[in-house]
């Protein structure tokens, strides 16, 4: 076997072991990471740029003026209260729905699955309009009368309508989260719990629900954040009445319509601070470390 033939074969073998050469290798490894970082950075930089622009548009005085306003203080209180109630209600409803959709097959399941996604795909204004129309029907009027008899207040254009509008959208996200959570929890654990003496409810309560804790926190977080950002349904179903049904997104809208851009931006940044604070608190106090769990 001649030397040039061996050299040629070794060169061919080297080329065969590294397809496309060094540039192609770089593109497939480091180049791939660089591309990921560039695409991701674009979005993160846009977010930071938006926040920076808001910060530079306002002055500390605008914040103080906003926080001193009685209407905005009311708006902050109503937002925090309504988002919390809507988020808790959302999770309360999402857990059984998510569990049913995850664990059971039944007639019409596909149809129900599609219905549950409606609040996610519908324009928010349409959700608000649909609620307004619903409570204008005979049945809706009757429900509102019963509600007023029990709680002393109606629904439409009142505070309960804010909670309901937020709940109708936030719950859809919570349901999706809880269904995915239960899908990821092995049925085997429930099977074992049944053989150990549990009823179906006991297996769910003692085994499955604790397993779903992180999913519950995520669903609560998502529902709360979604509720805070809801504007369209509230505008249509609750109105934009100051000191009554005004929540923070409504405040931004009202300040914009009166031409007070500085106040609108100040309130927007207030929403960012509120949201980050509450979401951090939920995640922190719900974390394994906070609960004293050590592996």
């Amino acid at each position: 076997m001649s030397q040039p033939d061996v050299t040629s074969r070794r060169s061919d073998a080297a080329k065969a072991g590294s397809p496309g050469g060094s540039i192609s290798r770089w593109l497939g490894n480091s180049g791939f990471l660089v591309a990921l970082i560039l695409v991701g950075s674009f979005y993160v930089i846009m977010l930071l740029a938006m926040l920076a622009a808001d910060l530079t548009w306002t002055a500390p005085g605008d914040f103080i003026k906003a926080l001193s306003s009685e209407e905005i203080q009311y708006s902050i209180r109503l937002s925090l209260m309504s988002c919390t109630v809507a988020a808790i209600l959302s999770v309360w409803v999402a857990v059984p729905i998510g569990y049913l959709m995850s664990r059971f097959n039944f007639f019409g399941k596909g149809f129900v699955d599609a219905i549950l996604d409606i609040p996610i795909v519908l324009p928010p204004l349409v959700v608000g309009l649909s609620l307004l129309v619903l409570f204008s029907t005979t049945a809706g009027v009757w429900v509102e009368e019963q509600f007023k008899a029990v709680f002393g207040t109606g629904i439409t254009y009142q505070i309960p309508s804010v909670v309901l509008a937020q709940f109708m959208v936030a719950c859809a996200f919570a349901v999706r989260t809880m269904r995915t959570t239960f899908d990821q929890i092995s049925v085997r654990q429930e099977d074992v719990a049944l053989t150990l003496g549990c009823s179906r409810f006991q297996a769910f309560w003692r085994v499955t629900l604790p397993e779903a804790r992180n999913g519950l926190i995520t669903a609560l977080t998502l529902a709360w954040a979604r509720s805070l950002g809801e504007f369209g349904p509230i505008l249509v179903f609750s109105g934009a009445t100051r000191m009554k049904t005004e929540v923070l997104p409504t405040t931004v809208h009202l300040e914009l319509t009166t031409g007070d851009l500085e106040a609108a931006v100040a309130v927007s940044l207030l929403m960012v601070v509120c949201a980050v604070g509450v979401l951090y608190a939920i995640r922190h106090f719900g974390s394994d470390r906070a609960m004293g769990r050590v592996i």
Binding site: L194, T195, P210
Partner: protein
């Protein structure tokens, strides 16, 4: 005693028909067969985790075919252990007694007794994550035995373990059998494992179960 008579059940496209076998009280019975032949399905039906179309299941002289799993008195150890990862080892072991509202002192005593039998006393406060495969199977076994069931069903409990760990668990299962006398149905692929533990060998083939001699050719 485990008695299965003319059992018919279907799971999707898969069906078992007229399956019958009997495991005498205090026997340790191995059930073998090819992958996918229906061994786990039969075990789950015995435990009440699968609905049956017809036939009967009699456990300890009681007709249990229509009873829920909680009322059958069976300790079940699935293939992957399926430990409750939100609980400590101690809580896993005492789970069946906590469900039965036994006093805390009674639960603690039984957990201690089981932990000593299974050699996992040092693991009681540990969470499930981080336990080795052998440790998890010991905890799963202890959890199944805590309420002193009359019947123990094991679904390939040693399949995912290395040889050394497997040997340790085989010795443990033999000790459990000796100390508790529980009637056991143990699914396995290993003839060696079956022969080292069981006094009865069943083989599932073509949807039917037949008994084979424990010694000699399978």
């Amino acid at each position: 005693m485990i008695s299965v008579k003319k059992l018919n059940l279907s799971v999707g496209e898969f069906a078992l028909q007229n399956v019958s076998f009997e495991v005498p009280t205090r026997s340790y019975c191995a059930l073998m067969g090819k992958t996918g032949c229906g061994k786990t399905t039969i075990l789950e039906a015995v435990c009440g985790l699968r609905n049956v179309d017809s036939g009967s299941i009699i456990l300890m002289s009681r007709e249990v075919t229509s009873l829920p799993p909680a009322e059958r008195g069976i300790g079940f150890v699935p293939q992957d252990g399926a430990l409750f990862s939100s609980m400590t080892v101690e809580e896993n072991l005492g789970f069946s007694l906590a469900v039965r509202n036994r006093p805390k002192g009674v639960v603690a005593e039984r957990v201690k007794e089981l932990a000593e039998l299974l050699g996992i006393s040092s693991l009681l406060q540990r969470r499930i994550q981080g336990l080795s495969g052998g440790e998890k199977q010991r905890v799963a076994l202890g959890r199944a035995l805590a309420f002193e069931p009359g019947i123990l069903c094991l679904d390939e409990p040693l399949s995912a373990l290395d040889d050394d760990t497997k040997t340790g668990l085989v010795d443990l299962l033999a000790r459990v059998r000796e100390e508790t006398g529980v009637t056991t149905l143990h699914i396995t692929h290993s003839l060696q494992e079956a022969r080292s533990l069981c006094d009865m060998l069943l083989v599932m083939e073509d949807g039917q179960v037949r008994e084979l001699p424990v010694e000699g050719e399978a």
